[in-house]
């Protein structure tokens, strides 16, 4: 392996579908290159590991100029659902797994999945609300300590 990257640590703080997939694709891509990877889910990123929410993540249609939908129209009822449906359809064509399956793939691939203690307390979440594949609930300090080898990179999403 020629890359000097040995470990990728991701902090996922958002729950819009494009951000969650960005984290997942990069974390999985790292494992497939023989690079270690871990994800720390905090704030809205926690939606991606809540059993009853993870399949209902959406694309933001307001405040997202790259979608080229005028803001007033993007705010109409049903627009988010429609845009999300279209995006999911395109993802399926590329064989991108849905969130739940992607989490299973990541966990089976050896990517560690962590919940942020502070945010979990703040949102009054219980362990049972979160996916079974979660490796634990830790603090940001604990997560920094996971950066324990040369060639570790940390990304905030």
């Amino acid at each position: 392996m020629s890359t000097k990257v040995r470990k990728m640590l991701f902090i996922l703080s958002k729950a819009t579908i494009e951000n969650v997939y960005a984290a997942f694709v990069m974390a999985n891509g790292a494992r497939m290159e023989g690079i270690e990877s871990e994800i720390f889910f905090t704030f809205f990123g926690l939606e991606a590991i809540q059993k009853n929410k993870l399949e209902h993540l959406r694309v933001a249609t307001v405040g997202n100029p790259a979608l080229h939908i005028p803001t007033m129209i993007g705010g109409l009822p049903g627009m988010e659902a429609l845009a999300t449906k279209m995006m999911k359809k395109e993802m399926e064509k590329l064989d991108m797994p849905p969130i739940g399956e992607f989490l299973e793939i990541l966990s089976d691939s050896g990517c560690k999945l962590w919940g942020c203690k502070l945010a979990i307390d703040m949102f009054h979440l219980k362990k049972e609300d979160l996916i079974d594949d979660l490796d634990g609930i830790i603090t940001i300090g604990d997560f920094y300590n996971r950066a324990n080898e040369d060639g570790t990179q940390m990304l905030f999403i």
Binding site: G34, L94, D95
Partner: protein, 102 residues
């Protein structure tokens, strides 16, 4: 680029992947595996045959596909080919490195 394994000369690209699948046989595969520090056993061959078949049918290879393969699960796959399983398995199988990001 030429590469010599035991008594056989094969053509590989700069990453070490065979260019011509006709030059592939189990001995070549074992030599490539050896370079990846993998000792080929029955389960490895099963996976290699599976991905060769996929390739022959022009079906793209992905980690999701491995999950659905029925041949092996993802954990075992990482266990058999440590450090980039799809990359290594395709190299041993004598087929091109998959271009997929997933």
């Amino acid at each position: 680029m030429k590469k010599v394994f035991i008594n056989k000369e094969v053509d590989v690209n700069e990453e070490g992947y065979l260019i011509d699948f006709n030059q592939w046989d189990r001995e070549v595969a074992e030599c490539i595996a050896g370079e990846c520090e993998i000792v080929m056993e029955e389960k490895h061959w099963e996976v290699i045959e599976y991905i060769q078949e996929k390739h022959q049918n022009s079906e793209p290879l992905s980690i999701r596909g491995i999950k659905k393969s029925g041949v092996i699960n993802i954990k075992e796959f990482y266990g058999l080919f440590p450090g980039g399983p799809l990359k290594k398995a395709t190299m041993i199988a004598g087929i091109p490195k998959p271009k997929s990001c997933i």
